[in-house]
């Protein structure tokens, strides 16, 4: 490159520096786009995929649609789900037949500390009783505190919704 070309390059470089200063100078006076977290929170968390939780059921609005098949437990690669099943005898049984056993969901213990959020449990659930939560602002001091019963959590959520209504 000859001398004139180099000088032209240098002048162009200086011009680009001025453009950069203009950009940051403009942003300096623009309002801030961050949120003061503990005092304010954002509300656009609809796309957030948090921990696994039981969804309120379509057939059973007071609880989950879970049929206690155990697919989620078998599919979990981290082994962080445990089913606790309540076995009941069918009411009003026909006297001729043997009474049927009904399996009901007692508790679904979920250890979030092992969960890798792979979503295998959600994808394989035959009745789509599981889903990702939008529980963004969650922090605990103890690892044991994030091991929870999803049935109890769903019940709390439904109760809270009822009280709000």
């Amino acid at each position: 490159m000859n001398l004139l070309g180099e000088i032209r390059e240098a002048i162009k470089g200086f011009y680009s520096l001025a453009v950069g200063m203009g950009v940051t100078g403009k942003y300096f006076f623009r309002p801030e786009v961050t949120v003061h977290y503990p005092r304010k929170t954002v509300d656009n968390v609809s796309t957030y995929s948090g921990h696994v939780e039981l969804q309120p059921g379509k057939k059973n609005p007071d609880g989950a649609d879970c049929i206690v098949c155990g697919t989620c437990v078998r599919n979990c690669p981290s082994g962080c789900l445990t089913l606790e099943v309540l076995e009941l005898m069918e009411e009003n049984p026909d006297l001729e037949k043997k009474p049927k056993k009904i399996k009901k969901l007692k508790a679904l213990i979920y250890d979030y500390s092992y969960c890798s959020l792979c979503g295998q449990c959600i994808e394989n659930c035959p009745v789509t009783a599981l889903g990702f939560s939008q529980h963004v602002y969650w922090a605990e001091f103890d690892r044991k505190a994030i091991k929870m019963d999803l049935v109890a959590r769903l019940k709390d959520q439904l109760n809270a919704k009822k009280e709000a209504m």
């Binding site: 950069g20 200063m21 940051t24 801030e32 786009v33």
Partner: protein, 332 residues
């Protein structure tokens, strides 16, 4: 009362009292200035990146740097094993010690100067060079490859940028015919078009670029490049060892801005009564400091060969031409 002053002045020379008062004021200024500038820097960075900056300690976070200073003072001081303890602890002191001396010769207002040396400019340029020695000691004494690389970079950078800086300063002294800072201010008028940055625009820009490099500020912060050398020469320092380097960096920013103000921007002169000269002076100095912060949060760090190319291939020839231009046009 007057007899008491006479008695004291016979015991201690008045000039010494003058210097002592100035020194105390300067040391107080250095501490407060460090606290304020660190806060301002973080706020500027925040606003440019469209976030609030420090916000939690005190209203708008103004006590944040005070809390940080207390934290730094409370920290344990470590010396790296295998390092040279003497050089290691000499370095932060050597970085900080010349600063009061640098501030002493700077005329803040009319007659408002701690020690009006007739070779003030030489004094400032000579003692600000000690900073390189401090960085060199820090890098060598740390027994750490990153620190040593930072020190090597700082030495070659300082050598490269001292030359165009001196040539730009020389052009100013050529027109004023003096090295006394107050006399250089007196050579310039009250209005902006009587200041040197209009008669010597090239010298002004060259001085500014060199000032960034001399104070190790971004985009020329290679001696402490975080992403390459963790923290460069001050990697191994904890607590106030690091604090003194930090204080020295922010104070030297003010020193180069003050010298730039004196040489090119009319010093304390400005329209209005002379007694308010210090207001003009500080307005100009902190305007330049804000410019340095603005530049830091705009431009990425240059590569090392680019850094040296800017100096050897552009700034030194340009400053030589500037010297010729000043000698030919301005003097005649």
């Amino acid at each position: 009362m007057s007899s008491l002053i006479q008695f004291i002045s016979r015991l201690i020379p008045l000039e010494l009292i003058h210097i002592l008062i100035g020194l105390v004021a300067i040391l107080a200024f250095i501490g407060v200035n460090g606290l304020v500038l660190v806060y301002v820097e973080r706020k500027v960075a925040g606003f440019i990146q469209r976030r609030p900056g420090p916000f939690e300690v005190g209203p708008w976070g103004i006590l944040q740097t005070l809390a940080d200073a207390v934290k730094l003072m409370g920290k344990q001081l470590f010396s790296p094993s295998g390092g040279d303890r003497l050089l290691f602890w000499l370095a932060p002191m050597l970085a900080f010690a010349p600063l009061p001396l640098l501030f002493m010769t700077i005329p803040v207002g009319k007659n408002l100067v701690a020690f009006d040396a007739n070779l003030g400019l030489i004094l400032i340029l000579a003692f600000s060079g000690l900073n390189v020695l401090a960085l060199c000691f820090a890098g060598w004494g740390s027994y750490n490859k990153w620190s040593l690389l930072g020190a090597i970079r700082s030495v070659s950078q300082a050598v490269a940028y001292e030359i165009p800086m001196l040539l730009a300063v020389l052009a100013v002294t050529l027109t004023t015919g003096t090295l006394q800072l107050s006399a250089i201010v007196d050579a310039q008028g009250v209005w902006p078009w009587q200041w040197h940055f209009l008669t010597q625009p090239a010298g002004f820009i060259i001085y500014l670029i060199c000032a960034f490099a001399e104070t190790n500020r971004a985009p020329f912060d290679l001696p402490e490049a975080e992403s390459e050398l963790t923290a460069g020469f001050h990697t191994e320092y904890s607590g106030m060892g690091f604090g003194l380097f930090f204080l020295a960096e922010y104070s030297s920013m003010v020193v180069v801005s003050s010298v730039c103000t004196v040489l090119f921007l009319g010093g304390w002169k400005g329209p209005g009564p002379e007694i308010l000269g210090f207001v003009w002076f500080f307005a100009k100095v902190y305007g330049l400091v804000l410019l340095m912060m603005w530049v830091r949060w705009t431009f990425p760090r240059v590569r090392f060969d680019q850094l040296l190319n800017i100096s050897w291939r552009w700034l030194i020839p340009l400053s030589l031409f500037n010297l010729l231009y000043v000698a030919a046009v301005v003097k005649i």
